[in-house]
């Protein structure tokens, strides 16, 4: 039988501990109505977690920390662990002893508690929004971002088995973290001089007065987009920047794109704003932004979207600024880890 415990019983042998954070709510927003966003069911997320647990176990990870939830993930994982066969000596799964709010706060608190517990890596299942929440709370713990959301630029679409092997090889020290992790840029949002939040891919300024259903999909609502990086094959708002002036994840700078209606724009591009939704976006001006520079939105009032989701309604009474920061979360380079695994026969059976 497998073991499933709560966090009061975490052992002191922390080098083999990995966290898994899975957002039960990702992939269910309005983009299923206005675009053609797919659905990641709880069953599919649990299947991914099962593959992760198996792979982490193979690398020698002995304990996995998870967040309790009311979304059905914790319940299914507990059931799966409890019904393991007697031959299955998989890792112990430990649920953090935290109050569940059934919202984004759970992800933030869970990531912070995992970091405090000394996990060596956190695998994060979600879209850009979920990755953003973890990035703001995980400190220097490297993350493995896996895509289960709608517009996914920061997380990779990877087979969980391979992601689990990579995370496990780093967590168990078989591959030195310093050699296979990279530090990412973030955009920091400040309101009235105080740090308020961050984004891992983009901060957008919208004319919309209301946060509403959160997702942004109407180009006519957009006024500016700030990006940490912009890939030409990206989906979502950063695709606007990626199609006019790509910026790599490793470049020291980011980009600010000022938008205009297609009638007034210098260039109008067809941009993949959401899955199945390719719309004309007018671009007026593009400018590199560098670390430390303070950027102020042009609009006196509107909403601020972090990684594609409207989060803040602001008026002219609030002073909003955006700043690029190179000191974002560390991520594990799965390709590099697996290359090392092959080169050094790290998965060889003794």
């Amino acid at each position: 039988m497998g073991q499933c415990e709560d966090s009061a019983k975490i052992s002191s042998t922390r080098e083999n501990v990995v966290g898994i954070i899975a957002n039960p709510a990702s992939g269910r927003d309005i983009r299923r109505l206005v675009a053609q966003g797919g659905v990641f069911t709880i069953a599919e997320k649990c299947s991914i977690i099962a593959r992760l647990i198996t792979a982490l176990g193979v690398t020698g990870v002995t304990t996995i920390l998870m967040i309790p939830d009311r979304g059905g993930i914790a319940e299914r994982v507990r059931r799966a662990v409890a019904t393991r066969s007697s031959e299955d000596q998989g890792p112990k799964v430990v649920f953090l002893g935290m109050q569940v709010e059934d919202g984004p706060a759970d992800t933030v608190l869970g990531a912070a508690q995992m970091a405090a517990a000394g996990v060596r890596a956190i695998v994060v299942l979600g879209g850009d929004g979920t990755q953003r929440l973890v990035a703001g709370a995980c400190g220097d713990v490297p993350i493995v971002p896996l895509s289960t959301g709608t517009n996914n630029v920061f997380p990779e679409s990877r087979e969980a088995t391979i992601a689990g092997l990579a995370a496990g090889l780093v967590a168990t020290g078989k591959v030195p973290a310093a050699e296979v992790t990279v530090r990412n840029k973030v955009l920091r949002l400040e309101i009235d001089g105080a740090h308020d939040d961050l984004a891992v891919v983009d901060i957008s300024v919208s004319k919309s007065r209301w946060v509403g259903s959160k997702a942004l999909w109407r180009p006519e609502d957009l006024d500016q987009i700030f990006v940490t990086f912009a890939e030409s094959d990206a989906i979502g708002l950063s695709s606007v920047a990626g199609l006019i002036r790509p910026v790599s994840r490793r470049a020291p700078h980011g980009l600010r794109v000022d938008l205009a209606s297609p009638e007034r724009a210098k260039v109008t591009l067809q941009c993949p704003i959401a899955p199945g939704l390719i719309l004309p976006v007018g671009i007026e001006h593009v400018e590199e932004i560098h670390g430390g520079e303070i950027q102020t939105p042009r609009l006196a009032q509107g909403t601020i979207a972090l990684d594609g989701e409207r989060e803040l309604e602001y008026s002219s009474r609030r002073h909003v600024t955006v700043r690029l920061d190179g000191q974002g979360p560390y991520t594990i380079d799965i390709d590099k880890v697996m290359e090392r695994a092959a080169h050094e026969r790290l998965l060889a059976i003794d």
């Binding site: 039960p24 309005i30 299923r32 109505l33 659905v39 709880i42 209301w210 509403g212 309604e313 008026s315």
Partner: protein
């Protein structure tokens, strides 16, 4: 999301009207004067309001046990509703339906329903009629999380999908089907997930947030009007009272409702946001509060003094002769 000042005032007025109406019924039911059961909608006002504001005279809705909010948001007469709930002759259904069977076909309100999951098949019929009429009408089926576990609901999703009906299924997931947690009773976390299996889009939205409901419903309704077919909108929400009046709610956590009232109240959040954005003045909201309080007071007084149906009414309005 285009919302004029007039829209915002209407939204506040309807939400406040539902709240005051329900809180008054909470008090009045305890006096024993109201026959039958009542199931109060307080706490869920943003859903009915955010959706029904987008509907017009072409559109039909079907409701649940908890139907007062849907009725008021769809424009049913407050006096007729209160009289109906009191079982009076001048009620919307001549005092014979009561809270759980309240209906006003002239307003497109096809009825609260004593059958859990009874509304979705009716909405499919209304949507089929709307499709045949070709005037862009839609049907909205409100259903609870308990109703969403009924076969009627799933059959209706299927029917709506294969016939591409202009129907929007709104699951008001308030966490409990009577006393049973939806986490226990539903083999899914989000009822929106079920839409995928029937080939229609499913969206989960915060049912406490008028703006989120309105924006999402607008897309679903416009899609249906354009001939895009059905969709499912799940609104996660909480109710402030028991399943029915008199429910001791022993299945709820200590201070659960108090905490929700303090932190998630849809009317409070709406008022704060529209006044912070300087779109409405607090004095305008205060005027609406006074107007609504007087309206509900009048409706209760009139209902109490209205005559009940008499014996000669026993078999009228009950069966239709074709």
């Amino acid at each position: 999301m285009d919302l004029t000042r007039s829209n915002l005032l209407d939204a506040y007025r309807i939400m406040r009207l539902i709240r005051v109406f329900e809180e008054r019924l909470h008090l009045e039911f305890a006096t024993g004067e109201i026959p039958g059961f009542v199931h109060l909608y307080a706490g869920e006002e943003a859903i009915a309001t955010g959706i029904c504001l987008l509907l017009d005279e072409r559109d039909k809705i079907t409701s649940t046990h908890r139907g007062h909010g849907h009725c008021l948001a769809k424009g049913c007469d407050v006096f007729g509703m209160m009289a109906e709930i009191y079982g009076r002759k001048n009620g919307l259904c001549a005092g014979k339906g009561g809270s759980m069977h309240i209906a006003d076909l002239s307003k497109g309100m096809l009825g609260a329903n004593g059958i859990v999951g009874g509304g979705p098949p009716l909405a499919c019929g209304a949507a089929l009629a709307a499709k045949r009429l070709g005037k862009g009408g839609v049907a909205v089926s409100f259903v609870g999380d308990g109703g969403a576990n009924q076969g009627t609901f799933l059959e209706s999703l299927n029917l709506a999908s294969i016939w591409s009906l202009p129907c929007v299924f709104v699951v008001e997931n308030n966490g409990y089907a009577e006393a049973t947690s939806s986490k226990y009773a539903g083999a899914c976390h989000d009822f929106a997930d079920r839409a995928n299996g029937f080939g229609m889009p499913g969206v989960t939205v915060d049912g406490h947030d008028f703006f989120a409901v309105y924006e999402t419903a607008n897309e679903a309704i416009q899609r249906a009007r354009r001939g895009g077919g059905p969709s499912l909108v799940e609104c996660k929400v909480n109710r402030y009272y028991g399943h029915y009046e008199g429910d001791t709610q022993s299945y709820r956590g200590p201070n659960e409702v108090e905490k929700i009232r303090e932190t998630r109240d849809c009317i409070h959040h709406f008022a704060t946001r529209v006044t912070s954005a300087a779109l409405l003045k607090q004095s305008e909201l205060d005027d609406i509060d006074r107007e609504v309080a007087a309206l509900v007071e009048d409706s209760v007084n009139q209902a109490k003094s209205a005559p009940r149906p008499d014996l000669t009414d026993l078999l009228t309005d009950v069966y239709i002769s074709y």
